[in-house]
Symmetry: C2
Subunit: 217 residues, 2 copies
DNA sequence: CAATATTTTTAGACTTGTCTAAAAATTTAT
DNA sequence: ATAAATTTTTAGACAAGTCTAAAAATATTG
């Protein structure tokens, strides 16, 4: 069994690994958990003893298979709870994360299996992120950033890169939601802004927005 | 805000107060939390600083109004989660307590309000215990122990005194569930056992069982 | 009421997880 | 390739929550 703190470290390392593929540095973990590098060194030693990470001084850490599975299970719980909050309790997608951060640590296999069933075995969370299965496997989909689409191309909005409340509420205001079809009408050269069509409406979108929306062609 | 440990102490004191009405002794709290009296003394000082209990050395503790409200809110969450587990996730009534012990500490007013609504604003948990309202008020019902019924009397089974898994599974086996009507056919003098009728069936019940079932006439 | 038993508190220690400051290793730049 | 900058680790401290052992207060009882 892992403590709340250990679980949070595992999850942070898991997310960092999926980005970088190299050994994860003490500093990167510290930044992502808003803690100090010295605290990370201490914890990483403990996780290494528990055989969830490989650690050699000054070399960063990597998750073991066991560590990966453990972390994926926490992510699975986090995302299932997010679906629950949106689908069953009328939360909006910008309200779920903090509560899910708490709920993901509840220990009960039956609870999470039944929740999965209640929700109809969802494959993605409200932000378009995939829900790992019980073995920790994730179905990786070839989604691309809206900013990489060329003029005239279109695709379905399937996820967000930034899932901060601010960004999500901005999307709500612009009526940009997952599942909608977006067509690039124009790409402005001087500021990389886009003119897009969504719901039959024309909309202007900054580079920053386009860099945070995932599309599936 | 209160830590997990502080919340557990508050809840324990709350339950002990509802039984005894006097100042709650260090020892009683220690027993109920399976900890040591010296640990209780330490914590009780902290709770006193936070103004949730009144404490004078060697005199035991009492909850303040604020403490009572805080504790009732934790109990409210515990019982709502128990209802959720039974009604929505197909848990049986002997499986819910340990998970609810974890879920009761999740901090999100919106979560608990929406959960309440999803469940149709239940008034009692799966064991027949009342769910405090948002202000911490509890509707006390005049339920009595089955053992206090006289020969010939009958009533509805509305709760359990012992909610251990063992007892609850025993009741399941005997098909004794909340809401059923029980009639006392006979009271044996030499061992205080009862002969009862339930579902049109005749059943023999020991004194111990009769002392752990609540009836409403 | 005084002796004894029990309860409660205190004192000091330990674990977990964190921090700051300083030392050591590694990386980057001149 | 040295020197400087950065990253990482170590050393020592602290808060929360717990424990054991001993002291102090309270309760029981002959
Ligand atoms: Mn999230
Ligand atoms: Mn998410
Ligand atoms: Mn319970
Ligand atoms: Mn209950």
């Amino acid at each position: 069994m892992f403590t709340l703190s250990e679980e949070n470290y595992l999850k942070a390392i898991y997310h960092l690994e999926s980005d970088s593929k190299k050994g994860i540095s003490t500093n990167a973990i510290a930044k992502s958990l808003e803690t100090k590098a010295s605290s990370v060194t201490d914890m990483v030693k403990k996780l290494s003893e528990k055989e969830v990470v490989l650690y050699k001084k000054y070399q960063g850490v990597t998750l073991t298979e066991f560590g990966k599975k453990t972390a994926a299970n926490i992510v699975r719980k986090h995302r299932l709870w997010e679906v629950f909050l949106v689908e069953k309790l009328n939360f909006s997608w910008d309200e779920v994360h903090d509560v899910a951060e708490q709920l993901e640590h509840i220990k009960s296999p039956k609870l999470i299996n039944q929740l999965d069933a209640l929700l109809g075995f969802p494959t993605h969370d409200p932000h378009g992120d995939p829900i790992p299965d019980k073995e920790g496997n994730v179905n990786i989909v070839d989604k691309i950033l809206l900013s990489t689409l060329n003029k005239g191309e279109s695709g379905v909005c399937v996820g967000v890169n930034d899932s901060s409340s601010e960004f999500l509420r901005f999307l709500d205001k612009k009526k940009i939601t997952l599942g909608k079809i977006i067509t690039v009408l124009e790409k402005e050269d001087f500021d990389d802004s886009l003119s897009i069509e969504i719901d039959g409406e024309k909309l202007s979108i900054s580079k920053k927005i386009a860099n945070n929306l995932y599309i599936k062609k």
